[in-house]
Symmetry: C2
Subunit: 227 residues, 2 copies
DNA sequence: AATTGTTTTAAACACGCGTTTAACTGTCGT
DNA sequence: ACGACAGTTAAACGCGTGTTTAAAACAATT
């Protein structure tokens, strides 16, 4: 091959944001090829058809996002509370990115809401491992007698709180004034809030009555280096 | 007008489920009119174009869902804990319906994820009042000194937990075996779990350590009559 | 019964879509 | 030098889309 996968990769990089922004139906092959500076026929040449390009774009989005914000390997001795805090921060970071949610996340989001063939392996390769990781952390935080299904529900409660800011950010933006968003809705602050609320529910820290004395911003997230 | 809004209403009733299932781009005017047993030109005759039909369908979905599962008027004396439980149950009921999420909810869901003109008033007329209601309940549960933005974050945490099962049900279905879903993920059980976890976080009930003694199914939701 | 205005109809329109074709370009092995 | 082949190109194809049209059907009023 001469230039073989050069065009293929440019196509993928152009398809990702386009599908993320407009969905499978809304995005057009022509626009994607225009962005990629590639002939329209390239999509059929390299991927067969639009749908297989879409599936490839979803896979690539997952891989990219995972290496952008990987889950750290924790030391055995690290307290479960700290692991949970970092887990939540990473979850929020993946979902919200630095400013707005990156196209990789938005694309996976669409896949979650309107599952196609790509969804099954998305869950298997991407979400399942993270969820098991979370369950492992919870194992250290809740009494051993609590059944697995309860831990899973607790896990969903934690994930759900993070997920909300991704999935319903349009609602949050309309409910909360812009200046309050800027002041109190940064990733670290939300992570601290969710972590504190969750730990309080599990009895690992005092309930909210005491939170006044240590508001979320007072205790910054343990620093870790995602790069 | 003779038969005027008969066709108009049939059109709306057909458009709702269609838009909910396939989205604005995916749904076709022809298919909608076929369902409604109406000529294709009716859409332009009554609504002008496809987009205004969509907006009308969203508005109608909101109105329908609100009267299907209304928020009750609570007695002044009702403990805040009970109000919260009922609020959560209603939220979950609206989102999950009896079996799967009804088309009204799915349609509003699409609007939340990919906001169009209809989103702004959807928040203003539908979500804002409910959120204020929730904040009112939280006022009775948290110390007076806790600032408003903290209560809002707590509100989002509660809403987020419910919202997750609507927005990510494809993921939940893939993560949790079918039989466990049937056994432990009924509306009342989830409502009990979310309510208990939230109250524990606020210090209104003992933390999860004590939950073993009173698992979510043990204390059924107070009955109320939505009809 | 004739007239007016509203609603419904079948057919067509213009356009954009995903996909295909067939010719062309460049690169390599022989 | 030349044939074989991967890569690229412009143009076209067939189809489905939202929308429009002009006539027919209908109901109400005069």
């Amino acid at each position: 091959m001469v230039n073989s996968d050069n065009a293929k990769i440019r196509l993928l990089d152009a398809a990702g944001p386009e599908f993320a922004a407009k969905g499978f139906e809304g995005a057009t092959v022509r626009e994607i090829c225009l962005r990629a500076e590639v002939n329209v026929a390239a999509v059929n040449y390299y991927f067969g058809d639009k749908e297989r390009l879409y599936v490839a774009a979803v896979k690539r989005a997952r891989a990219l996002r995972e290496e952008q914000v990987p889950m750290p390997l924790w030391a055995e001795t690290l307290p479960a509370e700290d692991k949970l805090r970092q887990f939540i921060t990473i979850l929020l970071s993946r979902m919200m990115g630095v400013q707005a949610a990156p196209w990789q996340t938005r694309l996976m989001m669409r896949e979650i809401q309107h599952p196609t063939a790509a969804c099954r392996e998305l869950v298997r390769d991407y979400m399942r491992p993270d969820f098991e990781l979370l369950l492992g952390i919870l194992d250290e935080l809740v009494p051993a007698e609590i059944p697995r299904y309860r831990r899973e529900q607790i896990g969903f409660s934690i994930v759900g709180q993070c997920f909300f800011y991704l999935a319903a950010d349009s609602v949050v933006s309309l409910l909360i004034p812009a200046e309050e968003l800027a002041t109190h809705y940064q990733i670290d602050q939300l992570a601290e809030h969710i972590q504190q609320l969750s730990l309080a529910a599990l009895g690992a820290v005092p309930p909210l009555d005491g939170m006044l004395l240590s508001p979320p911003t007072a205790r910054p997230t343990n620093s870790w280096n995602p790069s």
